[in-house]
């Protein structure tokens, strides 16, 4: 059987401000994942903010995995981070500065 490979859209057309995160996604079946974040509109006052990939022991409590990427600063710009050894849950989190916002599409691409 071919290995499993799936894409999950975990945030679609969401405007992120302040402390924002994608919904918890359970994907412990996957050995690796790449998380993409696309800016659907021109982000506002993003600066050099970095988003971080977070992992969780239970889907409730979150810690940074160490992987991160610079938030897009232009419309349709795509940022990404590969991640492995993530246990059973993944999410993307970012702390945007005051006055900053980004309308995002976040997708997780997983391979078993």
């Amino acid at each position: 059987m071919l290995p499993h490979n799936a894409t999950a859209v975990v945030a679609r057309n969401e405007t992120w401000t302040g402390k924002s995160a994608s919904e918890p996604y359970e994907c412990g079946w996957a050995r690796e994942a790449i998380v993409f974040l696309r800016a659907l509109d021109a982000p506002r006052r993003i600066g050099r903010t970095r988003a971080r990939i977070e992992i969780s022991p239970d889907g409730l409590r979150w810690v940074p995995s160490g992987a991160s990427f610079a938030m897009p600063t232009r419309r349709d710009q795509v940022a990404f981070a590969p991640v492995s050894h993530f246990g059973n849950w993944l999410r993307v989190a970012v702390d945007l500065p005051r006055g900053a916002s980004a309308k995002v599409l976040v997708t997780i691409h997983m391979k078993a």
Partner: protein
């Protein structure tokens, strides 16, 4: 159905927990992956902003090990994985997973599945009224001009505004069908809007739930529907059987692009500001042809 066919199925552990009609259309065991189940995305044209807000909240279903912080992995009915439909953590939020098929013969069909549900275990208390409902629906359309789009909906209303109600309901109304965009090709309506649910006669049913929010028990469900008459026939959950001959679906004029549509969807709604988690393992769709 011949005795040989019945006996062969009874000898197969994957099938003997179901009572399928003659032809198995699909048998979805989530240890094999998503099996065609995806998120119900709302319609839009030109911009995602045109999507009905009630659909904006939908997210991808998940292959879940039903794992809890205090007792580890529960697993599925058998094997490791179940399909999880997870709402956002906001009272009244919902999520929907869908499988999109078409049918080749208008005939009786049978949907069978095992399900369970629980709230996100964010508190050290039972939280048995935090899940509002779990349910399922078909989205169907007649094969020919002059027919109808038909959408039978069934849900288990577990709780509403903190009251533990535990009853089955059905729905015959949707919201106004509104055009989207400028090309005259796309419309939207919210058939899962909170209004219009009706109690299934005799539909109170106390389902097994456990003493803390990190234990679940699986339930069996069976739903019989006739694609020729576009009528609901019968529903069973565990030991209870409900006659649906007097119960109607949502009916609307046929749409120009949905002929022979056979969509199946599972949904969950939360009654608290925490995520509702609905699990399915596994699903058997069969038909009498």
């Amino acid at each position: 159905m011949s005795d040989m066919l019945r006996d062969l199925r009874l000898a197969d552990p994957a099938l003997s927990r179901f009572d399928p009609m003659r032809r198995i259309i699909c048998l979805d065991d989530f240890d094999r992956g998503f099996c065609g189940w995806t998120q119900l995305v709302g319609n839009y044209e030109h911009t995602l902003d045109s999507m009905n807000p009630s659909y904006q909240q939908h997210t991808q279903p998940q292959l879940s090990t039903v794992t809890h912080w205090d007792n580890g992995t529960h697993g599925g009915w058998d094997g490791t994985y179940a399909l999880k439909v997870q709402t956002r953590p906001r009272k009244g939020a919902r999520n929907v997973a869908i499988k999109r098929l078409t049918f080749r013969r208008p005939c009786p069909i049978r949907l069978e599945f095992y399900f369970t549900f629980k709230p996100e275990a964010t508190e050290l208390r039972l939280s048995e009224t935090d899940v509002r409902s779990v349910g399922f629906l078909y989205d169907l359309q007649d094969p020919a001009e002059g027919g109808h789009r038909v959408m039978p909906h069934i849900r288990f209303l577990n709780a509403l505004d903190g009251k533990h109600l535990q009853k089955w309901q059905f729905k015959r109304v949707t919201t106004e069908v509104k055009p989207l965009g400028t090309e005259g090709k796309t419309v939207t309506h919210d058939h899962l809007a909170p209004d219009g649910w009706e109690d299934l006669p005799g539909g109170h049913q106390k389902l097994c739930y456990n003493e803390i929010p990190t234990k679940v028990n699986w339930h069996y469900a069976r739903f019989d529907f006739d694609l020729a008459a576009m009528r609901m026939l019968e529903f069973q959950c565990n030991d209870r059987v409900y006659d649906l001959s007097g119960v109607g679906p949502i009916v609307m004029p046929a749409m120009r692009n949905l002929w022979c549509m056979l969509n199946i969807a599972f949904f969950a709604e939360t009654d608290a500001d925490k995520r509702a988690l609905s699990y399915i393992d596994s699903v058997c769709l069969s038909g009498e042809f």
